[in-house]
């Protein structure tokens, strides 16, 4: 086996190990973010109590879009 090939294989192994480590770090960061989000569960539950306000907010957007698509130009 020539030196060049050995060097390349060695580099690939190192990069793969580094990539696996990065993926693991990313997973941990994502999970940390998820735990933080779960800590705000109370606020998300409150959001449910305002669902009719969501419709009030949604309605003018729909009306505007309707006018844009079907209104006289």
């Amino acid at each position: 086996m020539n030196v060049r090939r050995q060097e390349l294989e060695q580099k690939i192994e190192e990069m793969e190990a580094a990539l696996a480590k990065l993926k693991q770090q990313l997973n941990l960061a994502v999970e940390e973010e998820q735990h933080e989000s779960i800590d705000h569960l109370d606020e998300h539950l409150e959001e449910m109590d305002h669902k009719w306000e969501n419709i009030r907010e949604f309605w003018p957007i729909v009306v505007k879009e309707f006018r844009e698509r079907f209104g006289k130009k």
């Binding site: 569960l41 449910m48 698509r69």
Partner: protein
Amino acid sequence: MSKETVLTASPTHVSDSHVAELTQGPTWFKWIQIAGLVYLLLVAVSLIGGGFKLAAGDHAKELFAFASNPVAGLVVGTVATALIQSSSTVTSIIVGLVAGGLPVSIAIPMVMGANIGTTITNTIVSLGHVRRGDEFRRAFSAATIHDFFNIMCVLLFLPLEIMFGILQKLGGWASTHLVGAESMSMKGLNFIKPVVKPPVELIKSSMANFSVEVSGIVMIVLGILAIFVVITFIGKLLKSIMVGRSKQILHSAVGRGPVSGIASGTIVTVLVQSSSTTTSLVVPLAGSGVFSLRQVYPFTLGANIGTCITALLAATAITGPNAVFALQIALVHLFYNLLGVIVIYSVPFLRELPIKGAEKLAEVAVGNKLVALGYIAGMFFLVPFVLIGISNLLSG
């Protein structure tokens, strides 16, 4: 169920201040209130059963002849749940009606429809993200994945039920074993009857001056109102008590895969007694991008299983010859949701369909909000009635 829902939909006008008063105070007091409300739920279900028996007599089947078409039953369940926004309320009412003589075969499509109807709540919650494009896309898909899954369940199981009555047989077999075919009284749950019977008898005797039919109808109406109010208040109380425990469960499910997600969705739904609360909870979690659609999907499925607890609880209120049928429909609800999760989620091709459907719909809805509006109006109200028309035409 939100405060707004209570205000707009409850005929008894449960006000914001009532809800606030009830959800304040020490935890032990809230538990006492919950125990009282559960008792009221049992009385209410019993009231509906007794009332329906009085009003319909031996004609319960004829009274619900319009729903003997399975599509009509499905639509009744869907639209009623979408309007009330609580599948627990609708399934508890169905348990009461079955106790009063409604045939289980007619009730099964209604229960399936309740699963579809309940998904309107989280779709409405997702509209809160409408001004932020990407966030709306993620939130809307997290909400509608539940719709697609429930529609698939109906498409798979309703034809099988019509042809072979699988769920009815399964529920019948299990309920006979649990209740006992001879005495028809719940094994080990006989204490329910003496506790529930006095208020039902009191209401019945207080209407001695009215005809049997009128008394029955009044009892049904009272029962439905009571179930509505009870489930609203229980939901509020449990939400305030169980938020900490729900957090713990969700924390423990992070990074553990789909089975853990299904289990945590089930447990959280049992704790808050509301599948729409659980499925609405995932909307902001997915909308922010912190959880992916694939991660919230199993949690949503768990909500379908957890919500069956209310109908099972309601069935314990029923004693006498129809107890076995009341338990049968509650068990059908459980088996239907369990089988749905097992069959659809364990087959990779089927598992992917709700994800693909929800992603595609959300993509289109972001570009055209009219599609989102059309989807809600069509899915929960227009299409159901068109289906009834078509099925009536086909059945001649």
